[in-house]
Amino acid sequence: MKCWGLVLALGAVACVDPKDKPDLVHDFRVLGLSTERPELYAPICELTDEAIDSLRSEVTFRALMVDPNGQGRPIQYTLWACADADDTTCSDTANRVKLAEGSTNEGELSLAIHPGDTTAEDGTPLLVRVKEKDPYQGLGGVRMPLVLHAKAGNEEVYAQKLMVFWCPLVEGMKPNVNPTLPGLRLEGESWSASGVPEIRGKGPFVLQAEDVSALQEEYIVPGLREYQQAVHLKESWIIAWYATFGEFSPQVTGGTDFGGQAGRHRTEWEPPEELGEARDVVFWAVVRDGRGGQSWVSRRLHWSP
């Protein structure tokens, strides 16, 4: 080879094989965060008392917390609402509000909260403070960071979810709804939540999501360059794949690249080269709609070498 630095550089990077990979869940993790509803809409776009009052509704905060080797240990958690999306640990005590705290176990945590009904230490509505700290001045919605601090044993995670408060800045805008996967397929067969199919060997085994194209919403957002310019978009869902054993290729499916080329929700799962013993393997597929909506499904199978 002659001076083909770029190719060699890419090749060298490809040769680095980190031990810890995102698709293999082996310790305490937060895999997904969602709010039901993902967006709250105010009828007017100035953050007046009237507008804020309309945003005080209750929402359900959910977190998918997994701890496959925790043997049921307790998980301590605290949920904060903050003002600055870059304050990922919600450390600004003057601009945060505790929404919930407690102890739970692995699985799905579900909390009823009122993030729109919060004020900073100086009495300013937290929504106003969030907008002040937003470099886009609310043109992408007022995105309030909800930070879940979860601790299991010595493992500690600060997990942030943006709760979107919006208003009809341009004509045609409407609130988002969470994406829901219609189902998964394993080696071409439907894979239900209740079934535990058995598979054998090195694979790879093909996993797919049922067709979601009809579920992906078209939506409108304000443009940045011109006042009241509308930009038309369509959701392109992204699924992150996880398992307690083996690895995926690719680890994430879907989405659209900058050339508009959309991905298919097809991935391949392989057990490790050192096959090990037969076991039950838990799978998760977390779907994101790219505008704050999120949900997940879980499946189980029995694998034998």
């Binding site: 080879m1 002659k2 001076c3 083909w4 630095g5 770029l6 190719v7 060699l8 550089a9 060298a12 990077v13 040769c15 680095v16 980190p18 031990k19 810890d20 990979k21 937060v30 997904g32 965060l33 470099p135 886009y136 001045q137 043109l139 919605g141 500690e156 995670v157 600060y158 997990a159 942030q160 943006l162 957002v221 304000p222 443009g223 940045l224 360059r225 011109e226 006042y227 930009v231 978009l233 369509k234 959701e235 392109s236 992204i238 499916t253 989405g255 659209t256 690249d257 900058f258 050339g259 508009g260 080329q261 959309a262 991905g263 298919r264 991935t267 994101r288 790219g290 505008r291 999120q294």
Partner: protein
């Protein structure tokens, strides 16, 4: 044996050596600065007055004879400035020859029509003959029959004509001898019978053969002389006087044979002082703390728009077409602008004057050719072209799968063509008569990359198709009249870039034209002035169809990649950048003072940028061998015209990037072939263009972020050391250099960081306003050496030892997870408070040449990283930012190449 003493000399007129002694060089008139190197010998010196040497008595008594090869430095007035034996023969011959030649007087040599000091090789023959005919013996009455030996001398392996060689029969000093002309031809009238032909030529082995000459007949012969040393032809030129504080010149042979660079003309510069090591085999020139893109790379004075094929591949400058490269790491003259780092000026190769020459070369990636030939008297042409064949080979290595179709087609080619007029005229310039020389050159390159992946077994149908090319045509007209020299260089260019990725289509076209005019006037021996103008105009059009990008068209949501409506844009921008410059060399005794100034004006849209760059050099010749030098000045670099396109894809309010550069140093010639140069430098860069710029609220409620801004600042200081051993002659076996740089480089932003820090179109943002440069390397040591083993074998090595680049360590205490984008965030320690491991690597190269009568075949094996050191090039974090992983550099990499030349 009775003996008559004879000591005679032969001047090898074409044997101007590569290096000229420094004192002589400093007396020469400087060549016009805008012109590239490669001054030509337009008039060879001829011997006007000789002095016979004293034959050493002891040698005479023993009946010894000798040929003493001398290196003679002839001053510009024709007197002998210095004489030394090239090789000692002993027995008192060396001393006797030196003593005699010191009293010689020559006609002055001329380089580019100007009397110049040169160094020549001179062979002094000491021979013994039979006793003279006794007096009174009657002479033969009848005329003797004569024979004529005529022919041509040709360099074995390259077919170059050997000029200035002496041809005669036997060792008889009274025998007639002939000197070959520029075509290598000779004609010798001798007695019939056996002729023990003896051919002496500089840089060639002694040629001896026997010819039987019949009475009154002409015998025509063709002799192939074997070059000494390397198989490659030695470039013949005199040395240019050095005025700049630092100018490092790499010859073609150095470029082609430096181990580990694969003959790449740009990458070889990374072995010089002041240049930081770029990761992997990247060719980025990181000069004295400057960033990539801040060093201008020119080909015969015209900027090369794209340095490397396929981004990081081979450089578009074909090594075969390069004559030499001048590298100015800083403190360069006012004629150079548009750079705040260094300047690289590639001099292309003039066509051969004697006959057709050429070469064919092939390696794993590409194959190419080079040809050069005279067309008529004074007109020569040279051309080169290269084409990759990866697109042919790669499919054999791509995986084949029924449900997956993958096509990868990388392809590149480039070309260079040059036609010279007047430069090779056989007519010597007449004093007081104007003389014009010139050339027309064209060069260009074309890159294509196509990647298509589809099929039911893929997770995405992917189609990427890029095609970029550029073409340049330039002229050069040099006019000389007395002490006035004018160089006019117009050029035009066309660049095109086509990108297709799915529904994204972009076609960018840049049409450009420019010209330089440099006037140089030597008012007296103490004062030379240069002035000129350097203008550039380009017209950019861009046609874009793209799904509306986030950040510029709407507020992105973390991790989102939606399908977006299409954006259709047609952009057009005109850019002008002009420079007026003046500088003057003022000699005051041992001091040479060069003040200069360059005024710059850029206009794009309605934006006017002005910058005034005063510069000053000072050189003090402390002794004949030692000079002290210093410089200080301001430098400006215009932002590219495309950077001025409207917000948010550009910034129409950009201004000049600026830098202050200062240096102070000393150079000393330890011997005629061993030089040492020590230079300290301090650079301060300001108003540099960085990405992204500030976030600007718009009237009516919109928000736009500048893509670029002039917030960049940086500084660097350090010391460079260069010790270089050149080859004294073709028989000198060792050459190389030791380069060491100590430096400290900082880089960052002045003023507040933008509230949105990530670049608009990818790349890594930084939370830090200012700190160490990511390219900072405190110590950079490079040792390059070559050794001519003989019999066509050459061995070269390069060893590099550098400090690792700065890295920011992780300080993980807990995971930080941004759930919307499904990505983690790092908790880091102090910015750039750690470094990668020290880098060291040894590269070796072996060349073997086989010389045939009419051509030479060369095979080379270049081995990168001979002892397979796992050097850390980058450090990657794991997905949760808990651990860091070292990305190793290139493992041991042997490369085999072949080259045939004639």
């Amino acid at each position: 044996m009775s003996s008559t003493l004879h000591a005679r000399g032969a001047l090898l007129a074409a044997s101007l050596l590569l290096s000229t002694a420094a004192p002589a060089a400093q007396q020469t008139s400087p060549p016009p600065e805008a012109q590239k190197p490669a001054p030509q010998l337009t008039k060879a010196p001829s011997l006007l007055q000789s002095v016979e040497a004293q034959y050493p008595a002891e040698a005479r008594a023993q009946g010894l004879t000798a040929d003493v090869r001398l290196l003679v430095t002839i001053a510009e007035d024709g007197t002998v400035a210095e004489v030394k034996p090239a090789e000692n023969v002993g027995h008192g011959f060396d001393e006797a020859a030196v003593s005699a030649v010191r009293q010689f007087v020559f006609s002055p040599a001329e380089v580019d029509g100007v009397p110049s000091a040169v160094q020549v090789e001179y062979v002094y023959h000491f021979t013994l003959t039979a006793p003279a005919t006794p007096e009174g013996q009657p002479a033969a009455e009848a005329p003797k029959p004569r024979s004529i030996l005529t022919g041509q001398l040709i360099s074995r392996g390259s077919r170059s004509r050997v000029a200035g060689a002496t041809v005669r029969c036997g060792d008889d000093p009274e025998a007639p001898e002939a000197t070959t002309d520029a075509e290598g031809r000779f004609s010798l009238e001798v007695d019939p019978g056996e002729c023990a032909v003896r051919v002496v030529a500089s840089n060639f082995q002694l040629y001896q053969t026997t010819e039987t000459l019949k009475p009154n007949e002409t015998t025509e012969v063709l002799f192939y002389l074997v070059p000494k040393g390397s198989a490659y032809e030695t470039v013949i030129r005199s040395e240019r006087p050095k005025k700049e504080v630092v100018r490092r010149t790499m010859t073609r042979e150095e470029i082609q044979k430096t181990p580990g660079t694969f003959g790449d003309p740009i990458r070889v510069l990374q072995n010089l002082p002041g240049v930081a090591r770029a990761p992997f085999m990247s060719g980025e020139l990181l000069v004295r703390g400057s960033n990539p893109g801040q060093t201008a790379t020119l080909m015969d004075g015209v900027r090369i728009p794209l340095l490397f094929h396929l981004l990081g591949g081979p450089s578009v400058v074909n090594g075969e077409f390069v004559d030499s490269i001048d590298f100015y790491p800083g403190g360069y003259g006012s004629q150079y602008g548009r750079a705040v780092g260094g300047v690289v000026d590639v001099a292309t190769r003039k066509g051969a004057a004697d006959t057709l020459h050429g070469s064919l070369k092939a390696d794993v990636l590409d194959a190419g050719f080079f040809v050069e030939a005279p067309i008529t008297d004074g007109v020569s042409v040279s051309a080169a072209a290269r084409r990759s064949y990866i697109d042919v080979l790669l499919p054999a290595f791509l995986p084949k799968d029924d449900g997956k179709s993958v096509t990868v087609v990388p392809k590149y080619w480039d070309y260079q063509l040059r036609v010279d007029f007047g430069a090779r005229s056989k007519e010597a310039p007449m004093p007081g008569v104007a003389r014009s020389t010139g050339y027309v050159m064209a060069f260009g390159a074309d890159d294509q990359l196509r990647i298509v992946s589809s099929g039911e077994k893929t997770d995405r149908d992917l189609k990427i198709d890029t095609h970029t090319n550029f073409h340049r045509v330039k002229g050069d007209w040099t006019y000389r009249l007395g002490s006035l020299t004018s160089v006019f260089t117009p050029y035009v260019g066309l660049d095109k870039a086509i990108t297709n990725v799915g529904t994204y289509h972009e076609v960018d076209t840049i049409s450009s034209m420019g010209a330089r005019e440099v006037l140089s006037l030597e008012l007296s021996r103490a004062l030379t002035m240069r002035t000129g103008v350097d203008v550039y105009f380009d017209h950019l059009t861009s046609k874009v169809e793209i799904p509306m990008p986030a950040r510029t068209e709407y507020v992105p949501f973390p991790g989102a990649s939606p399908e977006a409506e299409m954006l259709h844009e047609r952009l057009s921008v005109n850019g002008f950048d002009g420079g007026l410059f003046w500088e003057s060399d003022l000699k005051l005794g041992a001091f040479t003072l060069t003040p200069g100034v360059r005024g710059n004006l850029q206009r794009v849209h309605d934006r006017y940028n002005l910058a005034l760059d005063p510069r000053l050099w000072l050189r003090y010749a402390a002794t004949e061998r030692t000079s002290l030098k210093g410089s200080a000045g301001l430098y400006s670099q215009n932002p590219d015209t495309f950077q001025f396109i409207t917000l948010p894809y550009g910034n129409p309010k950009l201004g000049y990037q600026r830098a202050f550069q200062a240096s102070l140093g000393m150079e000393h010639r330890l011997t005629d072939v061993l030089n040492v140069d020590v230079t300290g430098f301090y650079n301060r860069r300001f108003k540099n263009v960085v990405e992204p710029g500030q976030v600007l609220p718009q009237e009516g409620g919109g928000v736009v972020q500048e893509r670029f801004s002039n917030d960049g600042v940086g500084k660097a200081y350090g010391v460079e050391v260069m010790v270089k051993k050149e080859r004294a002659s073709a028989s000198d076996k060792v050459h190389g250099w030791l380069s060491y740089t100590f430096s400290h480089a900082e880089d960052g932003r002045a003023g507040p960081m933008p509230t949105i820090k990530d670049p608009l179109f990818g790349g890594e943002g930084s939370d830090n306003a200012y700190g160490l440069s990511p390219w900072d390397q405190s110590h950079i040591l490079t040792l390059v050496a070559g050794y001519v083993l003989g019999n066509g074998w050459e061995l070269g090595g390069r060893f590099r030892l550098t400090t690792g680049r700065p890295t920011t360590p992780l300080a993980h205490r807990f995971d930080i997870y941004r759930g919307d984008g499904n990505e983690f965030e790092a908790t880091r320690g102090a910015y750039f408070s750690a470094r990668t491991d020290t880098f060291h690597q040894l590269d070796m190269r072996v060349d073997k040449s086989w010389q045939f009568d009419n051509w030479t075949l060369t095979a080379y094996l270049d081995v990168q990283n001979l002892y397979n050191k796992k050097n850390t090039e980058f450090v990657f974090d794991d997905y949760r930012y808990r651990e860091q992983y070292k990305v190793p550099g290139i493992p041991i990499l042997p490369v085999l190449g072949m080259k045939g030349s004639f």
